[in-house]
Symmetry: C2
Subunit: 443 residues, 2 copies
């Protein structure tokens, strides 16, 4: 019997834990699920005979060491900055680790020690990063194997609301950490286009967008992610002249979000004075020039050519022109915006979320023909619990954990799912679970 320890039983662990328990008889697994909230664990394990539910304090060194030493493989669903204590214990007790988080500098530094210990520290094995790596590398490797030369790679992903559950003009509801949505894009987006490095600062990120079309799913706005450049190395396409990664939103979202950016309402670095007693229009007034017009008229004048009737109705739908008190003390502009949007963009019980991903590859064949491949994924959630987000984050993690325990992953040390021994069986099994890319060749 193999012991799996899952740390973290939050919202995005539902599909992960379900997969592990569904496969536990065949694979002969005992699955321990650990969380600060025993209630959250029990909701997920449902007294499954192969499960063990424990209340867990990540800062309790003794309990952490005990549980990790008892496991064969640990899956950490903790926030990224909390992985290192777990990783160090995994190294100490020579246990495998799987996470859906980016490889941190500290994690990367453990590569040689982990290799020596004969363990796998698998990271970036969720959706984005995760499925994006696997699905992109499959096409990239195929093009190379056929003697092709890749000249362009653009990759987009978005966690959205499914059209059938979309009853708000933003086309958006929260299916993951709201704070990350509010702060998204802060910094400067860096990418490369036709051999030239390009930079888009935050102040115009949501105005310099592209339009992406996915068959049967319609059009989307895409804004550039902060970092596209480091993926050239990870994907073994160092000299590619055009490389961009971006985030997808429903059409109109970006130009409306730009209102908040331009106003300054996404800033999280200082607190608004008397934020609990202010109303939303008073908050807007604090960011708008003086004048005698209504708040709405002032906002329209302030945005100038960046405002249109659609944006106004989107902003108005949020209720910010109604004299409602914010009601939270000592809050930053970003915290106030999050507070408002968590109410307005709530995923309701029977709402379905939707994950969309598209890769674009342009390449020159051995015969010097230029071709383009579009590889697209659409996954819809079942409801508010079994979301597409939980599915696409949790299933790759569960499947790669299984591959490690089955001895099918030979690599050791700190790895990500960009190699064939991982991405081929991963993508194959994901297809059987309804997570399937559609490929289309153009030209």
């Amino acid at each position: 019997m193999k012991n799996i320890l899952v740390i973290g039983a939050g919202r995005s662990s539902s599909s992960l834990i379900k997969y592990l328990l569904d496969n536990s008889d065949r694979e002969n697994w005992k699955v321990t699920v650990a969380d600060v909230s025993l209630e959250a664990v029990r909701q997920k394990t449902q007294d499954h005979p192969n499960s063990r539910a424990i209340e867990f304090d990540i800062n309790n060194e003794q309990q952490r060491a005990e549980e990790i030493s008892y496991a064969d493989l640990v899956i950490s669903m903790l926030p990224a900055f909390m992985h290192m204590n777990v990783a160090n214990d995994c190294l100490r007790f020579k246990k495998h680790l799987a996470t859906a988080s980016y490889v941190s500098k500290e994690m990367a530094a453990m590569h040689e020690a982990a290799k020596e210990a004969g363990i796998v520290l698998l990271n970036e094995s969720g959706l984005d990063p995760g499925i994006d790596h696997a699905s992109a590398m499959k096409v990239i490797d195929e093009i190379y194997e056929q003697g092709g030369q890749i000249t362009l790679f653009k990759s987009y992903c978005g966690g959205l609301v499914a059209p059938e559950s979309n009853n708000n003009p933003w086309g958006y509801k929260f299916s993951w950490n709201p704070r990350n949505v509010i702060l998204a894009g802060q910094g400067t987006a860096q990418y490369i286009e036709n051999g030239q490095y390009k930079y888009i600062p935050y102040n115009r990120l949501f105005t310099q967008t592209d339009t992406i079309e996915i068959d049967g799913c319609g059009k989307f706005d895409a804004y550039a992610n902060r970092d596209s450049l480091s993926y050239r190395h990870a994907y073994r396409i160092e000299n590619i002249p055009t490389m961009l990664r971006g985030t997808l939103r429903m059409p109109g979202y970006c130009k409306a979000w730009n209102v908040f950016v331009k106003l300054g309402l996404t800033d999280d670095t200082y607190k608004i004075e008397a934020s609990d007693t202010l109303t939303y229009p008073e908050l807007l007034e604090a960011f708008l020039p003086e004048g005698t017009q209504s708040t709405k008229e002032k906002l329209i004048a302030f945005m100038g050519k960046d405002m249109d009737a659609e944006i106004i109705s989107m902003i108005e739908w949020l209720g910010v022109f109604e004299p409602v008190k914010i009601g939270i003390p000592n809050a930053s502009p970003a915290q106030i915006l999050q507070h408002l949007l968590e109410e307005k963009w709530k995923l309701e019980e029977h709402d379905k979320d939707m994950i969309v991903m598209q890769h674009q590859f342009t390449f020159t064949t051995r015969e010097k023909k230029t071709k383009t491949i579009l590889s697209s994924l659409v996954v819809k959630g079942e409801d508010q619990v079994h979301t597409a987000m939980a599915k696409t984050v949790g299933l790759p993690l569960a499947i790669t954990a299984k591959l490690i325990l089955q001895g099918k992953i030979k690599a050791r040390g700190v790895i990500i799912p960009t190699t064939k021994e991982i991405y081929l069986p991963l993508l194959e099994e994901l297809e059987t679970l309804g997570v399937k890319f559609e490929e289309k060749e153009i030209g």
Copy 2:
């Protein structure tokens, strides 16, 4: 005899050291000047009989303790973050300290201990902060004493180039730390207007400017400083409905600087790829949308209504459209901009800089009349060494140090020059040295 220890003999110490040596016979002072560069010290002390020049390493604990224990008063011209070691030694040996820096949290925490030790830790005793405090408090106290009620206080300061030395379209040359000029305003400006808190994020700081006029000196652009609100407490005007502090630039500067902000060229948080081999037009292209036009045409199109012929000529004057290599490796956009501007905005040997400051006070008299007082200061430098900046930073520090040594300042602990016992003799002596405010009452 009293011993004064001056730590730091950089550019802005020239007037400070000159004043101390000029007054050393009368006051019976021995002035020790300490710096990592003995050469820099000797340039300032010029073998004056009451001077002692030493090579000094601020991190050498033994030397630091020795020199501070030997002194009666220490003046620290170090960067603000380096004051604390000095302050702690001053407390240990019960020596007075004077700096021109803002009171840090660490410094503020020493108040009670310093009071107990019977020493003065005087901070913010330079130009801004320093002369601004003293001159503002004089008017504020006078208004209160006459039974007036202050309804508006706006205060502006700028370190500029004197008109007679102004031979560039920006009207700007560096008279202090260039890096601070490049990064100025990052964050969100906060102030209060007619009882309403107002916020201006960085992305529109240089477009929401005011015009300030100083008699005999012309008009200036003013942009809001990051923090205006905390001064309400320091100036004992907690309930004032309008309070703003701002920075002055020559007309046109702000709207031209906005080009760099909008492009993203003031960002210091990441490095430009291959910055050493890029040319300036190539750098601009990296921030501009794709197109077939020239870099200049693209920039004009990009800025749209925020561009005019004057701005174009200002940008062009910097040489950024000429194919010159940047030549510095691994540089952030802000570092590249600083590198370019340090060459273009250099204060030449016989150039004169200029300090301008203006306070605006509106108040209701005991007889319910509304009046406004304008209090303005213009100081010009002599040359590149004896700058107005060095004079207005160094003289208040030297004078307040003298007042401490003469026993004329009774307060103990961490203080700033906002009380009568300091600002009255300080402003009086500054007048005799040519640093004189002109007051004008309106209405």
